[in-house]
Symmetry: C2
């Protein structure tokens, strides 16, 4: 039953220039693996604010994923921030420098060598066909902001996170939320451990509310679903999936 | 120079079922109004966790926007959380109850009446053609999770947030980040107050990095842009806008 926190780093998200697609991706993937994401926090580029959040999240959740702030420019502060969170130095990685040289076919420039700096004692994990490895410090997975690269790196490590998956059933209802709220309360009273979501949709034609029923126990979800379907008027159920 | 924090409330976001489009919208709109969003935090449905975050954010930022957790069902806890953050009771609003009755044409059901509960002393602001008002408690704007409704409510209050806007210039560069990093450092050295962003794009054909130059002072941005363009090789500049 592991938990995760996601730390999105970047002024570009907060200023509305770039839409963060990384945290939705991580939420979906982690959920599929049975990991519960408990927090997403988006912060500006800044060593102190990164360090402070990494430290707290690392102590609070089983896995922490950072997104963004890795690279050769002035606004890339994640490595320094993660190092500071754990009171570690940042050190030059000969292994990364030689990967850079192999990838570019020439001696790395000073700017490129900024990317060869990692927190002392970090684990470097090869990530698919990428020349730059996944950097892991304790339970913190340092991921890049570029979505294609983030996904490749996550993919390369995903089996580390696998736990007991959730079973999900969806019920699409043609009534309004306020008309079915009492039935939902009754189901939750009977199945208190059910994760029951109720999501009104105002732009759908065929239904008005999507209900989600979840648990890690498939039998529990099935019994809760049966109980819900008995309570709802048959005409109110558009679809179950 | 006002600041804002956004609190996104909902298990559906954390579990990857729904993608949060509200915080990107708010970031863009607030930036356009000259408000700096300093934090986005996404938390589960829960009165205590909502109260704790609303309290801290309300003390830290000029404006706080909550998204989600408003409605008639068991997982709608934002009103209780906001009330708890300020040590206020939740009380029945005759004004909202009568709006519900007008909108539905009949006496409200108990579930509908859950939506007539607001923190004591809240300001209720009419929001366009919506029957449900925007609820404001001190500097906290309680917005619904449904994107269409959130936007209408934000629109109805937007002039409250207007400050000195940022001026933004974009430069699209055909070189790699590591090749231009030293020029960026030099520009920042000359213009330390410039907000300078550098965003590599690996799926674009025409350019490799988008640079953003921002300030609330139009002349400062112009001088910084001129300085940057002098430093970059002319062949490296794909477009300025």
């Amino acid at each position: 039953m592991s938990t995760a926190g996601i730390l999105v780093i970047g002024n570009e998200i907060l200023s509305g220039k770039v839409v963060d697609t990384n945290s939705p991706y991580l939420c979906r993937e982690l959920r599929g693996l049975g990991v519960e994401v408990e927090r997403i926090v988006t912060i500006p580029d800044g060593v102190e604010v990164i360090a402070e959040h990494v430290k707290v999240m690392s102590q609070t959740y089983d896995f922490v994923f950072t997104s963004g702030g890795i690279g050769p420019t002035h606004d890339d502060m994640t490595i320094d921030g993660v190092a500071a969170a754990f009171g570690r130095q940042v050190e030059y990685s000969e292994s990364i420098a030689s990967r850079i040289a192999r990838a570019t076919g020439k001696a790395p420039t000073p700017s490129q060598l900024r990317m060869a700096q990692v927190p002392a004692g970090a684990t470097l994990l090869d990530a698919g066909d990428l020349w730059f490895p996944l950097v892991i410090v304790e339970n913190v997975y340092v991921l890049p902001g570029i979505p294609e690269l983030l996904r490749k790196k996550f993919e390369s490590a995903r089996e580390r996170f696998r736990g007991v998956p959730f079973v999900l059933k969806r019920v699409y209802v043609t009534q309004m939320e306020s008309e079915i709220a009492e039935h939902l309360d009754a189901v939750l009273h009977e199945f208190p451990k059910l994760l029951l979501g109720s999501y009104p949709r105002i732009q759908e034609e065929a239904f008005r509310v999507m209900l989600t029923l979840e648990s890690r126990d498939p039998g529990y979800v099935k019994r809760a679903l049966d109980s819900l379907l008995v309570r709802l008027p048959a005409s109110a159920v558009h679809k179950v999936e």
